[in-house]
Subunit: 373 residues, 2 copies
């Protein structure tokens, strides 16, 4: 099971720096977790990920359950050895993908019944089965099955979903304790839609169950950024200070800085990797589209202040050429850069928190990002 | 200009080992040149290529002329710096791609008029312009413009094409001498279809022009392997012993071993990289399709005797999973392996030639490849 050490708290915000110790190594927080849906962060090797500074990656239980499946992962002793990654690994519960990807999904207190988006075959995810599956995967951090709701959602749906999420959290916790011997860690997920009182109730019910860490789910589902910030700022302080706090599925660099300022420790998002494959690249001075003709003859590295492999060796013109030619290397070099950008942003935030200069960091970050490349 | 040193000749075949010295480093022959059509070997970085043992790669003048174009390559001082590759580089003349890819191409003694396969725009390749373009690219080894013919082709067409190829070789050589100062090297290309007397005439006319190296074109265009071997075996001894001999666009591992036995020094082919992207992988014990269900739970490395990055770290089951899931990493890991396989095969041939045991090497190679994985 993990241990969390709080190392410093910013005096001018709620930002915090800490470290999480797992069987596969230490994670320095705040941290961003690249998404490796199917046992690979698209286009990158584990060595590339380490080169970008990755300390933990995320796998998707829904996808891994369908392909390659529990039988194969069990044979390989889990995802770590299958994919050649020996650092920490977190998996979601699969609930969000059932909600967003599966055909004809049906939710009851029992769990999710759904049809595979690949072949239409029928499946059932229960709180018990998703913990068992994550145990087969060998995730250092497993997530409870929760009920995701769309945005906007009315209060009645939000309340029902939070109640079911608590019910399931209790059953997940029981399976974790009784069936897996707590060899890894299980996080509870706070739901409650955009209603502060429901968020409070959800947080309290989960905190009473005493999980090794807590996540806030149901954000970044289409709501305005201000509302996401409001919900994050409200919910984060309701979670125990001595446990890691993870905001799921968020977000832009600006989102991360804002939510770190409210005390978030962990993030995951497909944005850096997916945007990279669409030619949308993050830089210190704002975001760019590498396909833009202004880069056609541009000999400068993508981001002159960046130390990633891509920026050390290639020009904007070369990256544009690869992207316009749909070369495989485009996706890889772009993904390397974007993941490095995100992880470097987290490292800078952590250093600022440890040096108690988070407010100054944030002011410069905001100015530079608005400046434009 | 390059120099070629013949290091050893097999006593039981015409196989030979040598070394080519260029401004960008040494090439140990016999050698295979991975194909980097658009300024990238699809999916690999230059570091990956070096890790596979690549000593020289090939770029396609037709493709590079259309994208990114001469203006941009000139601005960057050539392809080496544009693509971050500082080892030797060879480019074809573009003639073969005009023949196989361009729309509405028309050939006269002036050159090729053609429409781009990308946007239909009109262009003209002359012997003079393709040498100038290759000089802009900065190729260590440039190729003369030649006329490719389909298989089968009648004697009249083959003879006309060889005459035009000689005419163009003379003009290419003039441009190379007068316009580029011979800073790099230019190879002549022997044509002549499947007619030995025409091959002989073509070789003699080109040898009289005294090029730093010679290629045999017009093979691997659909003819039976036996006919390709016959043409290779006939033509190779007509080329000067103290110059490198390059067989263009060939081929399978078996093709390479056969043609090395007749004295070929250099090869290029899209087969290892293109097959890799289609899941067709080369191993010491034969070729396999990684999608095959027999590999679903297979924990062994692809080729247990292979030392490539892919075989050192991943199982057949993982490679199958990536390939079936169409993950970007599949293309990269497969390409790494196939290129490594080809280059390792060349290294083994070279070692066998240097140790004068080529016949024994070849017997074992043939037996093992036929055995099946």
């Amino acid at each position: 099971m993990l241990t969390f050490k709080l190392e410093n708290r910013s005096s001018d915000s709620s930002a915090r720096a800490g470290s999480i110790h797992t069987a596969h190594g230490e994670i320095q927080t705040p941290i961003f977790m690249p998404v490796g849906t199917l046992g690979t962060v698209k286009g990158l090797t584990p060595e590339d990920l380490l080169d970008c500074g990755s300390q933990i990656i995320l796998g998707n239980t829904y996808h891994l359950y369908l392909r390659p499946g529990a039988e194969l992962l069990s044979r390989f002793g889990g995802l770590h050895s299958f994919m050649h990654w020996d650092k920490p690994l977190l998996t979601d519960s699969g609930g969000f993908q059932v909600f967003s990807l599966a055909a004809l999904s049906k939710i009851t207190d029992e769990g999710y019944r759904f049809q595979s988006h690949i072949d239409g075959s029928s499946h059932l995810f229960t709180p018990e089965s998703v913990v068992a599956m994550q145990d087969v995967i060998g995730s250092d951090i497993m997530m409870c099955l929760d009920q995701c709701i769309p945005y906007p959602a009315d209060r009645i749906l939000a309340e029902k979903a939070l109640e079911r999420t608590t019910l399931w959290a209790r059953r997940c916790r029981k399976t974790w304790q009784e069936e897996t011997g707590c060899r890894n860690s299980l996080f509870g997920i706070v739901q409650g839609g955009m209603f502060t009182d429901l968020r409070k109730r959800s947080a309290e019910e989960l905190v009473a169950l005493d999980f090794p860490g807590y996540a806030i789910g149901g954000l970044s589902v289409g709501e305005p950024a201000e509302l996401m910030y409001e919900m994050g700022a409200f919910t984060l302080p309701l979670l125990p200070e001595n446990r890691p706090r993870y905001i799921m599925g968020v977000g832009t660099p600006e989102n991360l800085v804002e939510l770190v300022s409210h005390g978030a420790d962990m993030f995951d998002c497909v944005m850096p990797s997916r945007n990279a494959r669409n030619g949308k690249l993050f830089t210190r001075y704002g975001d760019i589209n590498i396909a833009n003709s202004r880069f056609r003859m541009d000999e400068k590295p993508l981001d002159e202040t960046c130390t990633c492999y891509t920026c050390r060796h290639y020009s904007r013109a070369y990256l544009r050429h690869l992207y316009k030619s749909r070369e495989l290397l485009a996706y890889r070099l772009n993904t390397l850069h974007n993941i490095h950008y995100y992880l470097d942003l987290m490292r800078c935030m952590r250093a600022a928190i440890l040096g108690d200069r988070f407010a100054a960091f944030r002011r410069i970050f905001t100015e530079e990002r608005a400046r434009g490349l």
